[in-house]
C-alpha cells in the first residue's frame, strides 16, 4: 500500500500485520444508544465516563429538520499522540491489530494522554465501580481487544441495531471494512491532527464534525446539564 507512513508504529498496510478498523455508517445510525450501553456492560464502565458515546445534533429549520447522530469512540489512531505522551508507557500500541491499550497497573494518573487525545476518547476512572477493582487510572475504548482476539466483534458492533458499526481488518482486502473504505467516500475526525484515525465514518458532514458554535451559546444546549456534570464530576 502506498500509505505514507511517518511513525514506526503504524501498521496500516504492513504485510503480515492486522490493522483493525471500525466503519460507522451514519446513514444507518438511528441513535438507539445500544452501543453505548453494551459497552458500559461489557467493561463495568462507571457513571460519568464513556468508552463510546453517541451525540446528536438537530439541523435545519421547521419543518425541514433532521437529526444527525455521530457515534464516537477511541480512533485507535495509527500514529497516536496519547502513546507518545505517556511518560511510563502505560498506554501502548499493540502492533498486530493496531489496538491502543492501557496497562492499568502502571498508570500514574498524570492525564497527559488525555490532554493529548484530540477526541476526548480517554477518561479517568472514578474511585467507585460496581464490581471491577481497577479504579483511579485512565481508561478508554480497547476496540474490545479481549473479544476480537477470540474471534468476536466488539460489543458495540455486536449489538448495533442499525448495523451502523462494522468492524474488521483493513489490511485484509477481502474484509467488509476494506470493501467499504475502498468503495465509498469515508471521513475521519480531525484528520488535520495527523493521528490517522481508524474509525471511518460514512456520511459524516464536516459541518457537523467541526467544533461547533454551541460553545458561544451554551444556553441552547441544555447548559444546566453541563453545569451539573462539571460540578458533580469534579469532586
Amino acid at each position: 500500500m502506498s500509505e505514507l507512513r511517518i511513525s514506526s508504529i503504524e501498521t496500516r498496510g504492513v504485510p503480515g500485520k492486522k490493522r483493525y478498523a471500525m466503519v460507522i455508517d451514519l446513514r444507518r445510525c438511528i441513535g438507539c444508544m445500544a452501543c453505548q450501553v453494551a459497552c458500559k456492560a461489557e467493561f463495568d464502565v462507571p457513571l460519568g465516563v464513556f468508552r463510546t458515546w453517541v451525540p446528536y445534533k438537530v439541523v435545519g429549520k421547521y419543518p425541514t429538520v433532521r437529526k444527525m447522530f455521530m457515534p464516537r469512540l477511541c480512533n485507535h489512531c495509527d500514529d497516536p499522540p496519547c502513546v507518545r505522551s505517556c511518560p511510563v508507557e502505560a498506554t501502548y500500541k499493540v502492533e498486530d491489530g493496531g489496538f491502543v491499550l492501557q496497562r492499568y497497573e502502571r498508570c500514574i494518573g498524570c492525564k497527559a494522554c488525555m490532554a493529548s487525545c484530540p477526541y476526548n476518547a480517554r477518561f479517568m476512572l472514578p474511585r467507585h465501580r460496581s464490581y471491577t477493582n481497577i479504579t483511579s487510572v485512565v481508561d478508554k475504548c480497547t476496540f474490545c481487544h479481549h473479544r476480537v482476539s477470540q474471534g468476536m466483534v466488539p460489543a458495540c458492533v455486536q449489538t448495533c441495531v442499525g448495523r451502523s458499526r462494522i468492524f474488521g481488518d483493513l489490511n485484509d482486502p477481502g474484509s467488509e471494512v476494506s470493501y467499504l473504505v475502498n468503495t465509498l467516500p469515508t471521513q475521519v475526525l480531525r484528520p488535520e491532527e495527523g493521528t490517522k484515525p481508524h474509525v471511518f465514518y460514512i456520511g459524516a458532514d464536516r459541518n457537523h464534525t467541526e467544533i461547533g458554535r454551541t460553545i458561544y451559546d451554551p444556553s441552547d444546549v441544555m447548559n444546566a446539564e453541563r453545569v451539573m456534570f462539571e460540578k458533580n464530576q469534579r469532586s
Partner: protein
C-alpha cells in the same frame, strides 16, 4: 458537537497552574542565587541564601503538588523506572529534570552553607541549567499537544522561561528587603523580561486569533469570554502592562514602586499561567 448528556472535563485542572507558578519561581530564584557568585551578579549577593532556600522550599511544594495531582500518587516512582520510561514524553524528561534539579539544589545549598565557592559555583551552574529546563519542559508539556489551541506553538517553552524569570525576579525583589543594588538589578530584570512576556503574548494572541475554528473560538473565550477577565484583565493589563508602566515611572525606581510592580507581576504571572492552561482546554470539552 451535540446537545447531549455526555460531557467532557478538562484533563488538567487549575491546580496545575499553581505548580507551573511555583516551579517557575523556584527555578528563577535558584538562577539568581547562583548569579550572585559571579561578577555580573554581585548586586544579588544579599538574596543569595534566602533565594536558595525559598527556591528549595518551592521546589518541594511543587513536587508535592505534582504528586498530589496524580490519581495514583504512590506510583510517582514509576516515572523513574527505566523499564517504563518513554523518552517521547516531555513528562518523562520533566520528571528526570525535576529530580536532578532537586539533587543539584541540595548539593548547592550544602556548598552555600559551607561557603564553598567552588562547589557552589559548580552546582549552581549545573542547577541553573536544570532550572532552565523546568520552565522549558513545562512549556513543552503544553506545546506537544498538537490538538490544543494556544498550547501548540513553539512560543510556549520560551514564554514559560520568560514568565519564570519575571515571577522569580518579583519574588527576589521581595526578598531583597530594600537592598538598593539588588532592587535595581531586579527592576531591570522585571522590565526586560516583563517586556519579553508582553511581546510573546501579542504573538500568542495573533496565532490564536488566526488559527482555525478551534483556535479562533479559544481566542474569543480568552479575550471576551469566560476567561477574558483573568487573561486580559489580570494577566495582560494589570499583571504585565501595568507593572511595566509603573517601573518606567519615577515611582517605579523607588523601593515601594518596585515592590508594587513585583506584586502586580506575580498576580499577572499566576493569571497568565492559569488562563493559558485552561484556555487550551475549553474548546475541546465541547467536541
Amino acid at each position: 458537537m451535540g446537545d447531549y448528556t455526555v460531557f467532557h472535563l478538562m484533563p488538567w485542572s487549575g491546580a496545575y497552574a499553581i505548580y507551573f507558578f511555583t516551579i517557575g519561581i523556584s527555578a528563577a530564584l535558584f538562577f539568581f542565587s547562583t548569579r550572585s557568585w559571579f561578577p555580573t551578579g554581585q548586586a544579588l549577593v544579599p538574596i543569595r541564601t534566602s533565594a536558595a532556600y525559598v527556591s528549595f522550599a518551592l521546589l518541594a511544594i511543587s513536587g508535592l503538588l505534582l504528586i498530589g495531582d496524580l490519581s495514583q500518587p504512590m506510583r510517582f516512582l514509576n516515572i523513574m523506572n527505566p523499564a517504563y520510561l518513554n523518552f517521547a514524553s516531555p513528562l518523562a524528561w520533566g520528571g528526570l529534570n525535576l529530580i536532578s534539579f532537586g539533587i543539584a539544589s541540595v548539593l548547592y545549598i550544602k556548598a552555600l552553607k559551607q561557603n564553598d565557592e567552588k562547589n557552589a559555583k559548580f552546582f549552581g551552574v549545573i542547577g541553573s541549567l536544570l532550572a532552565l529546563g523546568l520552565p522549558v519542559y513545562t512549556g513543552f508539556d503544553l506545546t506537544v499537544h498538537q490538538n490544543r489551541p494556544v498550547w501548540n506553538t513553539p512560543l510556549m517553552p520560551v514564554l514559560f522561561v520568560a514568565m519564570s524569570l519575571v515571577s522569580g525576579s518579583a519574588v527576589a525583589a521581595m526578598l531583597a528587603k530594600g537592598k538598593e543594588a539588588a532592587l535595581a538589578k531586579l527592576r531591570w530584570h522585571m522590565l526586560w523580561e516583563g517586556g519579553a512576556v508582553g511581546v510573546m503574548l501579542i504573538a500568542l494572541l495573533g496565532t490564536t486569533a488566526y488559527g482555525g475554528s478551534g483556535s479562533e473560538l479559544t481566542f474569543i473565550l480568552m479575550t471576551s469570554g469566560s476567561l477574558g477577565l483573568i487573561f486580559v484583565g489580570l494577566g495582560i493589563l494589570l499583571g504585565t502592562a501595568a507593572p511595566i508602566a509603573v517601573l518606567l515611572t519615577s515611582f517605579g525606581r523607588q523601593h515601594a514602586g518596585i515592590l508594587a510592580a513585583a506584586g502586580l507581576l506575580l498576580v499577572g504571572g499566576m493569571a497568565l499561567r492559569y488562563s493559558i492552561l485552561i484556555g487550551g482546554q475549553i474548546v475541546q470539552t465541547y467536541f
